[in-house]
């Protein structure tokens, strides 16, 4: 136990003195966040179609059409709309009807698609906000509960940062897991540090566990910094404040543990330090591009989407967004965690086979 703590402490101290670890874990994602933080609002568009049976002249649709990031799709047949909707090119379908009772005046039905979960969620928020505003306007006496709701909704305006930050956090965890672990084990092996450890009574397993603990601690610190900077300076949405923050960190720990397994595999396969980047990039780069780090995967051509839907990072990114923006908890994203863990089982099984001590 003491040996493990000593090793963890040593490894962590070394990590903090290693400029590339700090750069890749922290600076790299922060730069992206800052860049995207400053160009917020401009780059995405939610496509909404109005159901043909819908009442067209009502304040809900009117307000919706005034929101910059919402694009109301016009001039398409029902069949075209249905087809595009199923592929996620249209993010939501709205049908507004007059309620015969007159109270409420209108009933708005929103259909979103799992093909575009991120934008569907955004649309739900936006629509809620619009309806709440209308509620208030129509009912000037304003029940106190409605006012409260309006405020919450106001705070949940979906910004670019709400999309970018979880993606960057996810990718930072992936690269920390893969590159970090692979490099450190290869270098400890090649510089015979491990051999020297073997001449002491420390158990082999402790060496691995300590490295993992140190990585986890280090990456969680970066995650905390990334989230806090996002929240404080770029208005990153943490729906339920601290609870959301804790849930994000818990999910990050699970995901990083899985990603560390990739690192062990790479350290086992790579012959020396210089072959690490090639192999590690093979694992991280496709996920960087395809797992919804920068763009929603619904933006990709259809044939590419199944690939995205296999990658573990996709599920981490998606769950992080659900937690941060929709207020989901760890329990709500269990299916995604299940897929991450399934990857974990596969990866660790390979790691056990290929891992080398000497």
């Amino acid at each position: 136990m003491r040996a493990m703590l000593a090793l963890t402490k040593a490894s962590l101290t070394a990590l903090f003195r290693n400029p590339s670890a700090v750069i890749f874990n922290l600076l790299f994602p922060l730069i992206f966040i800052i860049v995207f933080g400053f160009i917020s609002g401009g780059s995405f568009r939610i496509d909404v179609a109005i159901d043909s049976s819908s009442d067209m002249n009502n304040p809900i649709i009117e307000s919706l059409s005034q929101i910059k990031s919402v694009n109301i799709v016009k001039g398409k047949t029902d069949a075209e709309i249905a087809s595009e909707f199923s592929k996620g090119r249209i993010d939501g379908l709205i049908k507004v009807t007059k309620d015969p009772s007159g109270n409420p005046q209108f009933v708005a039905e929103l259909k979103t698609t799992s093909a575009s979960p991120e934008f569907g969620a955004m649309l739900r928020m936006i629509l809620n906000q619009v309806i709440d505003k209308q509620n208030l306007a129509i009912n000037p006496t304003g029940r106190s509960f409605a006012e409260l709701k309006e405020q919450v909704v106001e705070g949940r305006k979906f910004k670019t940062i709400d999309f970018i930050l979880p993606g960057q956090l996810g990718f930072s965890l992936l690269s920390a897991g893969v590159f970090g672990t692979a490099f450190i084990f290869i270098s400890l092996r090649q510089t015979l540090v491990i051999k020297r450890f073997f001449a002491t009574p420390v158990k082999k397993l402790y060496i691995i566990i300590s490295e993992c603990l140190s990585r986890l601690t280090f990456s969680m610190m970066s995650a905390i910094i990334i989230i806090l900077i996002g929240a404080l300076f770029f208005g990153f949405t943490l729906v339920n404040g601290f609870t959301t923050f804790v849930n994000m960190l818990l999910l990050s720990i699970i995901a990083l543990t899985v990603f560390l397994g990739f690192g062990f595999v790479v350290s086992g396969i790579a012959k020396n330090e210089s072959s690490v980047p090639a192999i590690a990039n093979l694992i991280t780069l496709p996920q960087f591009l395809l797992a919804g780090t920068f763009f929603p995967i619904s933006n990709f051509p259809e044939w590419l989407q199944p690939v995205s839907k296999v990658l573990p990072l996709t599920y981490l990114n998606q769950s992080l967004r659900e937690i941060s923006f929709e207020g989901a908890t760890i329990l709500d994203v269990l299916p995604s965690i299940g897929i991450l863990l399934a990857w974990g089982v596969v990866v660790y099984a390979i790691a056990v086979k290929v891992f080398k001590w000497e």
Partner: protein
């Protein structure tokens, strides 16, 4: 010396595929002595040492360290020995004092890093990194890490290879100092002057076989008694004496 045998090696064999690195060697090391394993490169010195250090599996034979078998009690053995490897690295980016603390953790003992570094005269380098040390300092630090668990035996694998004459002499004094505290020292070397100066007994090993074991004096006397004499008359000083006279005994750091 009627001291107890602290290391016993019996019929030790190590094969790598078809190649036999160690071919049935036997020897004992007595408690408190400095025992040297001498031999040319590739003679099997390091392999023998690493089997004793429980870092390498043997093919057959028996090895006991302080009565413990390398087969069954490797972990207990690791706790009572200190090991300096011929080539080893230390955790990157850490200061010497942090490395000492790390090893203290690995051995589960409490030490004062400054005191430990003091033994090998590296106090001034407590905040330096291993990779920034000179050759002699590196070897001294390696020896420092072997002492952390207050071991009964330390193993030094070619501790002075590549050092300048000043650093070698400095290290010899360090090894003697360690032995004076009662630690048994087992070392390998291919420098005969080193063995002659340091070792109580030496075993000469070649091609995986021990050729002879005795004190350096006995071995020399034995050779002379067989009528051996040097081709050239021995001078009263060597070139190394000249070098040291001219450059002094102080360490160069280096």
């Amino acid at each position: 010396m009627d001291l107890k045998k602290i290391i016993e090696v019996k019929n030790l064999i190590k094969k790598y595929g078809d190649f036999t690195a160690v071919n049935g060697i036997s020897f004992d090391v007595k408690e408190g002595e400095i025992f040297g394993l001498l031999g040319p490169n590739g003679a099997g010195k390091t392999t023998t040492l690493e089997i004793m250090e429980t870092l390498r599996e043997k093919t057959s034979g028996e090895v006991f360290i302080d009565g413990l078998s390398v087969d069954k009690d490797s972990n207990a053995i690791k706790g009572i020995i200190g090991v300096q490897l011929q080539a080893a690295g230390y955790y990157p980016n850490l200061h010497l004092s942090e490395l000492v603390e790390l090893f203290a953790g690995l051995y589960n003992v409490d030490v004062n890093p400054d005191e430990m570094l003091g033994i090998v005269d590296l106090n001034e380098k407590a905040k330096s990194k291993y990779k920034d040390l000179s050759g002699g300092q590196k070897q001294r630090f390696s020896i420092c890490t072997t002492l952390i668990n207050d071991p009964k035996i330390i193993f030094l694998d070619e501790p002075t290879t590549g050092l300048d004459p000043q650093a070698r002499r400095n290290l010899w004094e360090l090894v003697r100092k360690i032995r004076e505290k009662g630690t048994t020292v087992m070392l390998t070397t291919h420098y005969m002057d080193e063995a002659e100066y340091l070792c109580d007994r030496v075993g000469i090993i070649d091609k995986g076989l021990i050729i002879t074991i005795d004190t350096p004096d006995n071995l020399i006397d034995d050779l002379i008694s067989k009528g051996f004499s040097k081709q050239r008359e021995q001078k009263l000083a060597s070139l190394e004496d000249v070098f040291l006279k001219l450059t002094g005994h102080e360490l160069r750091d280096e």
